[in-house]
Homo-oligomer: 472 residues x 2
């Protein structure tokens, strides 16, 4: 459907609102969406679902005991809340497990280092890995010194800048994902990175390392930021700095995990799906409150509020709590594959995986004719601070797998100023949740989902030319 | 000397200042003190000494290898800066050592707990200590339930309030020092406390436990505040909560440590001493930057600036970097004992042990006739924000041992709003130092010390009736 066609369809269905600007939403859709929004703003139960997942389950890395408990928690919670078609859809995941870990400066004088293995890292030899460090500030600097890394432990001291969006993270994270292979290619024996984070706590930020095929896999760990700054000061004092670290982590085969699914069935078009996603797994250091119990709480609560309406929307709201977002995306891939046949009937997908900050806007990726409808949604979201719509969205890591099928992708952008103080650390715990901000996100997601599931015509799908996954 | 006598002496020596209010300081003393103050405000080297102690030595609990390195660092630093009579005065210390430690909720569902043994704690049995918890909010609540603690692990969930002074800490710390013995007296098998701190990091706050004679010594540990809040939520969900924890810590005999001393010799009255103290030891979890490398940096730098003057003051400035403040006060006691014969010639003592916050005033404890001089000092300290003088000071833990000898005691009070976010945790590292605030404290201490060492008459000593140590 072209943009003009959608406009005509919407205009045909909807009388002009009094102000003359809200032309494309039927009044009953608008009013119900507003009521949902305002109900969530008055206080939702999202934080309660976050507390359930973090307190009753805690850490839940794919394939761990916590992961299995999280699946059980998801099924039980969705059942208890009256969702329909509650089910666990099996996902095979690769298992990686942290072990004992220890780091220290050996010379010029002994100092303990607070560090954590990066997810996926190979272990060090027993007894640890000891070498002189080579400090570089970026992949580029390493590349410019191709002979300097041999038999060294490369120390990537790249600083992340605080930002209200993800931009600081996106600029800094390459050393975590690519640093190990780049260093290994130059003969390095190990990698330490300054944690990709914005805090100053002695709590390292983990996160996945991506080993390149065909290169030696060398151990990789993140130093807490105070420890990275210590190493930086020691290194700049002019004497060679030797460190030793031990990582007992490693791959532990495969295991069964699951995407947990539950639905609020649609009335007139139940076969058409509006997917609300978040991920159920978490890194192992904290209890995954902001990443991503918060998202689970948001989408469960938004769907629950819609399910409580006296009249449900036309399309089905499907909550998907994805497995294995953090270190593999196996859940997202399994969903895209297993549901391939019905992806053409996925009218929209939204992912909540941005923590507990207040909404700042929303992003979308759909066909151009969706724009007037997006603007209408923006007006609905003005009272929650999420009016600003950005058309270059990607939805989120899990739902981005639906892009190749053209499913329109959405996300509520959130204030991330403090997100990276806690992200992927032991500090990601329930006390970091801001219930009022979370309610605002619920308000935005519920209003969006209701409109997406109720509007006579679905959003125009992503144009063929824009369906390639980023990086592919 | 009476107050009247002091006033007469000062008036005799000092012409009235132009404004008529600054009657009791000789202009040359005032001007030199102002110049010292302003030099420190323009940028001192205090942070550099803090970096030296934290980066080159790090953790330095009494009797540890770090403690010995700290003594060496102190001697080397004072020598290098040209102090006179630099020496290590031996102190025998009791040694306590942390071991492996681990905590977990066993039921209603497993959860890892971030905890740290309190200093001085006995170890748990091998394999850990497991019991149901009894949550109480205070020593008083425990006392009101004398039958509830038997065979339980008592969980003291007492919240510390943030304050700009030490008041929040003083109100909260009793559960850490006294909780174990109070609980043991009622048949408890172990104690966990909510960390005495104001942060929300997964980093427990250690600190000393005081076992009472004649009661069983039971293992005691601090939970990080997020973990204490988890336990609180689990406990309030109604089901019995069982926890297990393992502490491998324990007493390890005695060792030799030292007070490190260095002097800026006085000119006309070198036998009279103005003591500037801080403590060289630290807890073992962090690198002791705010507690108390900051204090060491402050007093070293204040004395160094005085030593650089073209004309040194009449009295000797003696820097004492005390051993074992954190868990025994053996350094303070040894100093008081070893220097007993010259304590009557200690004209004043000041201790810096309040971290890195900006000055907010100063406190004093001396004879009443010192008040006009104290007010004069207050006026000198106005530009650094430390004008407010409080007459109920105690100086600090180390110099309070000099109280029985009547030595006038002083301290610069500092903004402590953030001090207890880091105090006694792994987070007490150099990055927490605020160099500009530290310079302000140096300015205050240098100006005070110069006046104390230069004024014709010393401060009136603490009256006999006020010389008892608090709590004795």
């Amino acid at each position: 459907m072209t943009r003009r066609a959608l406009s005509i369809a919407l205009l045909a269905a909807v009388p002009l609102a009094a102000g003359g600007t809200d032309a494309s939403l039927a009044p009953e859709i608008r009013q119900t969406a507003q009521a949902l929004r305002d109900k969530a703003l008055a206080g939702s139960q999202a934080s309660q679902w976050v507390a359930g997942l973090t307190d009753r389950v805690g850490p839940r890395l794919a394939g761990s005991a916590g992961d299995r408990q999280a699946t059980a928690w998801g099924l039980e919670t969705l059942e208890a809340l009256g969702f329909a078609n509650v089910r666990a859809e099996k996902v095979a995941v690769k298992v990686w497990q942290r072990g004992a870990e220890w780091g220290e400066v050996v010379s010029p004088q002994p100092q303990r280092l607070a560090l954590a293995a990066l997810g996926g890292s190979v272990p060090t030899p027993e007894g640890g890995l000891e070498a002189e460090i080579l400090e570089v500030s970026s992949l580029e600097e390493l590349g410019a010194r191709p002979d300097a890394a041999r038999v060294k432990i490369v120390f990537f001291d790249k600083k992340m800048e605080r930002a209200s969006d993800m931009s600081g993270y996106m600029r800094a994270v390459d050393v975590r994902s690519k640093g190990a292979s780049r260093a290994a290619a130059l003969g390095a024996v190990g990698v330490l990175i300054r944690s990709v984070g914005t805090d100053h706590n002695r709590l390292p930020h983990t996160g996945g390392v991506d080993y390149e095929e065909g290169l030696p896999r060398i151990p990789a760990a993140a130093l807490s930021i105070p420890d990275a700054e210590l190493l930086e000061r020691l290194d700049r004092s002019g004497k060679p700095v030797r460190v030793r670290f031990t990582l007992g982590c490693g791959d532990r085969g495969t295991a069964e995990s699951a995407n947990v699914v539950g639905e609020i069935p649609g009335t007139r078009k139940p076969e058409e799906i509006v997917l609300l996603g978040a991920h159920l797994d978490s890194w192992d250091l904290g209890t995954g409150a902001i990443d991503d119990a918060a998202g689970c709480g948001i989408v469960i609560e938004a769907a629950r509020l819609i399910g409580e309406l006296p009249r449900r929307p036309a399309r089905t709201i499907r909550v998907v709590l994805f497995a294995n977002e953090e270190n593999g995306l196996a859940g997202a891939r399994a969903y895209a594959k297993d549901h391939e046949a019905e992806l053409s009937r996925h009218a929209a997908a939204l992912e909540a995986d941005s923590g507990t900050g207040r909404p700042t806007g929303f992003s979308w990726l759909a066909g151009p004719s969706a724009e007037p409808a997006v603007r209408e949604i923006g007006r609905l979201l003005e009272p929650v601070g999420a009016a600003a719509a950005s058309g270059d969205g990607y939805g989120g890591a899990d739902i981005s797998q639906l892009r190749t099928a053209g499913v329109p992708l959405f996300s509520v952008t959130q204030d991330s100023s403090r997100y990276f103080d806690f992200h992927h650390t032991a500090n990601d715990t329930f006390d970091k949740i801001e219930p009022e901000a979370l309610d605002r996100v619920v308000a935005a997601v519920a209003a969006f989902a209701y409109v997406a599931a109720s509007s006579p015509e679905p959003f125009e799908r992503i144009p063929e030319g824009k369906r390639a996954l980023p990086g592919s």
